[in-house]
């Protein structure tokens, strides 16, 4: 059974919007030198963050990883804020302090990823703990890749969440590679969901390229969590349809795998399904695509014209108490505020 029509349409919209934004970033802005740092995209994996985070309530929270563009957009970040973030603009989500997917904003209950993979896993447990202590009926979605599961913090976080029975859903995108490292060098098992057993939590493996399957598995896990049933682990099998980042040509990935998985493209699949089930017409899908292109065009041009941060902001925001900056800051009497120019 399909979710209600609006949700179905929204899922397509956010998947397509994610793809469009990331394509623009990776294939255009990055190549034009407008994005100076690294670029990681979730091409081919859009169903995972979209199918899961679409069902959150306002006070729920997400801890996204580096291939979860859809989750950021669904939680309320605009395309412009995201693009400005990538370009290091002052209007970006982090005002230029942080790079690419390291977007966070507690007004939207989005926790910024730190590069050290799996660090957000215990943090998500702590957020869920706060919900539990405050008797809020909210949940946290915590995203990570297959590689991240090898880190100690992953284990500690799952165990703590399970012992404390807190409302968190752990979502693994198993795209079968961590940078150049294939799954069989990462772990001796094929299904990461198997590890849920070790934490006495429900664990399922779903087709991560089927947004409906992701939606359904998340729905169950979220419901369990919201009702005090504790954490779950959902493994979404998928494939990284790019290199690890924009500079990686992924020549270590057998070509056949790309071919095989391009046939399983989650957006195409969902479009076909919606048209087949008459949730949307072909015309509506086309118009959605056009609208998205326009939205992104506009966001790109706004972001491109946005200002960079003022160099002096470098020294701001380390502590809540702004008066602390001065004594700690650089070069005492020799510090020249104009040194950037």
């Amino acid at each position: 059974m399909l979710p209600d029509k609006k949700v179905c349409r929204d899922m397509l919209y956010y998947m397509k919007l994610s793809r469009e934004i990331e394509t623009r970033i990776e294939r255009k802005l990055y190549r034009q030198g407008k994005i100076v740092g690294g670029v990681y995209v979730g091409r081919g994996q859009e169903a995972i963050s979209v199918g899961s985070s679409i069902q959150l309530e306002q006070n729920d929270c997400i801890c996204p990883s580096h291939r979860d563009m859809g989750a950021f957009l669904i939680r309320g970040l605009s395309a412009r804020e995201v693009l400005a973030q990538y370009m290091g603009k002052k209007t970006g989500v982090t005002r230029g302090k942080e790079a690419n997917m390291h977007m966070g904003d507690m007004r939207h209950n989005i926790v910024a990823f730190v590069s050290m993979l799996a660090d957000t896993v215990p943090v998500a447990a702590g957020i869920a703990l706060a919900y539990k202590m405050r008797r809020q009926r909210n949940v946290v979605l915590c995203y990570f890749g297959d590689g991240a599961t090898s880190r100690g913090d992953w284990h500690e976080g799952l165990n703590l969440a399970a012992v404390q029975k807190v409302p968190v859903v752990f979502l693994c995108n198993n795209n079968q590679y961590a940078y150049s490292t294939p799954l069989d060098k990462q772990m001796p098992i094929q299904d990461i969901s198997l590890r849920a057993l070790g934490y006495a939590m429900p664990g399922v493996t779903v087709d991560g390229n089927d947004v409906l399957a992701v939606h359904e598995a998340t729905r169950e896990a979220v419901e369990l969590a919201r009702n005090g049933g504790g954490p779950s682990l959902i493994e979404c099998k998928t494939f990284r349809m790019t290199g690890h980042s924009a500079h990686d040509d992924a020549r270590y990935v057998p070509k056949e795998l790309f071919e095989e998985w391009s046939r399983k493209d989650p957006i195409l699949r969902w479009e076909t399904r919606l048209i087949r089930d008459k949730v949307m017409s072909e015309g509506e899908v086309r118009r959605m695509a056009t609208r998205i292109t326009q939205e992104v065009d506009q966001a790109v041009s706004l972001a491109e014209n946005d200002p960079l941060p003022d160099p002096k902001e470098t020294l701001e925001g380390v502590y809540a108490d702004q008066s602390i900056e001065a004594p700690l800051a650089f070069a005492a009497s020799f510090f020249s505020p104009d040194r950037w120019r």
């Binding site: 982090t94 730190v114 447990a125 913090d153 925001g317 380390v318 602390i324």
Partner: protein, 324 residues
Amino acid sequence: MSATTYVEAVRQGLWEEMTRDEDVFVLGEDVGVYGGAFKVTAGFLDQFGEERVLDTPLCESAIVGAAIGAALMGMRPVAEMQFADFISCAFDQITNFAAKCRYRWGAGVPLVIRGPSGGGIHGGPFHSQNPEMYFVHTPGLKVVAPSTAYDAKGLIKSAVRDEDPVLFFEHKYLYRRVKEELPSEEFLVPIGKADVKRTGGDISVVTYGAMVHNALEAAEVLAGDGVELEVVDLRTLVPLDKATVLESVKKTGKVILLHEDTRTGGFAGELAAVIAEEVFEYLDGPVMRITAPDTPIPYSPPLEEFFLPKTSDVIRVARHLAAY
């Protein structure tokens, strides 16, 4: 009114803060039923209940990580490291997650990480460490190390109320050896303010933690010889109260930097740099460090004794400087 020990002062401070603010809670290994390895949270479970006094699994990184998560939601977690040495296991969460949130994306992490540090109790290499410098060197963290019961109580309360992550290093050698009468009314000690524990015009001794007491002992002895030490107790390492340190050095022109932590890369270096850069003209003698040597902390009494800086070291170096 009877004297309150250092460890009891920490306990009282936490107790008062938990009573004042429902968002404050403690978590860590054996903090609940057992009341903490050093009994800092004894009685808390009965008073505040299981939800606010959390016995966690053995996982320092997740303890801190979970505290960060709760703090992001506006809670006020106080995480105990059973021994400060084990903070090494949470190093990444502290330095990369907690320390950098506000700067990176504007999210405050009002979190306290506390635990017993320091040597002198024959704990060996893993139950005696002074891990403050790892955090002093990480922008975004505050680092506190009280030397008296009064400061311990006043500072733990300020730490709980601080909007940023505070590392609170108690000195376990002082836990039951140091005591004093505390005011019956509530008081706070501000983070970021040093305290001149003894005034004197000849030589400044800048120190913190257990070594404050060695400095005071030395001052007592030297006063007999007519050499007056000024003992500056930093109390907070970050943010550093530079003004108080520099004022003292300007007055005396001579300075001993004293800490129990090992030498290379220790806090004395930071102080030496600040002094040699900013009040160079006032110096009447070399800036002297007294620290532990650059070794792990050995177990056997003669070795540990040899390792720890002591009052006699301060006296010896002070005499040398006095004659300079």
